[in-house]
Amino acid sequence: MFLEIEHLTMRFGGLVAVNDFSVNVQKGKIHGLIGPNGSGKTTIFNVLSGYYKPTAGRIFFEGKRISGLAAYQITARGLARTFQNLRLFSSMTVLDNLLVGMGHHGRTSIWQTLFYPVAVRREEKEFLDKAMNLLDLLEIADYAGDLATSLPYGHQRRVEIARALATEPKILLLDEPAAGLNEIETKKLREILGKILDSGVTIFLVEHDMKLVMETCETITVLDYGKKIAEGSASAVRNNPIVVEAYLGREDVL
């Protein structure tokens, strides 16, 4: 078992954002999570990444329980995420954004920082090489020294993905990575998703671009009003009348 969500319920006061939701994400695959606006997709991501403590239910990653852990501990276990609205570190260069993500692998202590800078420099060099490799993978190495927020929007999206990968995750949670991208950029994104998958990282994808989801995801879970209404392959989901109804409304019977 890789990533398991068991009977997750997330309540905010009277609002039930996620209701008894369960899912199994298989290792080495792209798993899609779709649903109309407000159906609870981002809430599930926020619970997964440790921002919210679930009202009920449990989450297991590689057999170990992660629900209830602090966000940074969950990242250390190998879950990383991107954000629907870009949240890059605005005062930093592209490279520094990635280096923040690598920080939790750092072994040097504050005492070494103060009194043994050689060790720190060695570690920095190691981080730097890894970061540059990731920038190469996402084809944004030319921008390494630029202020992250000064990049074109599509590139900023890639920086977000690179930064998440910098934490060296086993599973990557992508929250609408194609939002605001044009067709060419989306095509590029699909290539990138393929490369990430090839590097052995599982992807859990929330996305509104149906074409992208249908073409890349092996399994798709459909959410509506916080409840799972369907799950299966692209074609199964597409032809499921409940899914069609959730997205387009009920077909009027004459």
């Binding site: 570190f89 605005s90 005062s91 520094d96 923040v100 993500g101 720190v120």
Partner: protein, 327 residues
């Protein structure tokens, strides 16, 4: 990725180093040296405040009273137990750092302006503790007869001699701060300031680094306190009240919040300016308030930001001239 200095920069640095070294000999009187010594002490507090506030976004507005904790630690260890400066300095740093951790705990629950208010309150509490510490702190009377240090038998017993001690401490403090900022700790600080939620998602242990920011800023204030106590040989609680925090905040903001060089600039400029402002006495606080407002509105990055902008503007102009010449 080291930047090479060009010749002009090298010469400037050399001149600055010489000026710093000979300053006590060319100063008109020891009072001028004394003011610069105070400036050095303020620079140290300011560097700490800058690390916490300018880089990590943690409003530690208890630095004035924390400075007092450092000073009282050194003063009590010296007058009551006879310990020398060289023992009292690390003791002051450690104790003030520990208390700084407690001051930093609320940062895990409240942010920005609310945190500023909470830390002001905690600072006031620390100051009241100094005032009401009984025979230990000697209340409003303060602690007199603190001994000046000596260096392997060589007494550092004048402002001129103390100047070099402070100079070494400021240089050390500056480079330690640079070291902290250069690596993982500095990046984590800035990540927390830029985007708290994203920092968490990137595996930054935000709680740890927030408290660390407070500890570091308190440690700097503690070092400054020990230096202050042994320089002035007399301390009292009123010195370390909220106006002290406000003064350091002002000079840091005028110099440049988020720039260590800004701390140097503001730390030298404001204490000198303060001497000229003595004529307006109680209106000084008003002047600091106005200075903060002007800085926030017109140059949020302080003097440093301003010079950066000017040099950038000049470079752009030169580039334009170049293009005109070649085209």
């Amino acid at each position: 990725m080291k930047k090479k200095m060009n010749i002009t920069q090298g010469v400037l640095l050399g001149v600055a180093a010489c000026a710093l070294l000979v300053f006590p000999f060319v100063a008109q009187n020891s009072y001028e040296v004394h003011i610069i010594n105070q400036a050095g002490i303020y620079i140290l507090i300011s560097i700490g405040l800058n690390l916490a506030m300018g880089y990590a976004g943690q409003f530690n507005l208890a630095v004035g009273p924390l400075w007092g904790v450092g000073a009282y630690t050194a003063a009590i260890l010296n007058t009551k137990f006879g310990f020398p400066f060289w023992v009292n300095l690390p003791a002051a740093i450690i104790l003030t750092g520990l208390i700084g951790a407690f001051v930093g705990l609320p940062s895990l629950k409240v942010r920005s302006h609310y945190l500023a208010i909470v830390t002001i309150g905690l600072g006031v509490a620390i100051n009241i503790a100094l005032l009401n510490g009984g025979s230990l702190t000697q209340g409003a009377m303060g602690i007199p007869h603190i001994q000046m240090p000596d260096f392997f038998g060589y007494p550092i017993n004048s402002d001129q001699r103390y100047y070099y001690l402070i100079l070494v401490m400021v240089i050390l403090g500056f480079f330690i701060a640079r070291q902290i900022l250069a690596g993982r700790i500095g990046r984590s600080f800035r990540a927390i300031r830029d985007d708290y939620m994203a920092a968490k998602a990137m595996g930054v242990n935000t709680a740890y680094y927030q408290v660390l920011a407070f500890v570091v800023s308190a440690a700097y204030a503690g070092a400054a306190g020990a230096l202050f106590a042994h320089l002035n040989t007399y301390i009292s609680p009123d010195i370390f009240d909220f106006p002290a925090t406000l003064f350091v905040l002002t000079l840091t903001m005028v110099g440049g919040m988020g720039s260590l060089v800004g701390s140097l600039v503001g730390g030298v400029a404001l204490p000198i300016l303060q001497e000229y402002l003595r004529v307006i006495q109680n209106w000084q606080l008003v002047a600091y308030g106005v200075a903060i407002m002007v800085v926030v509105i017109f140059m949020p990055g302080g003097v440093i930001e301003l010079t950066r902008r000017l040099s950038g503007w000049r470079k752009n102009r030169l580039a334009l001239v170049d293009r005109d010449a070649s085209g």
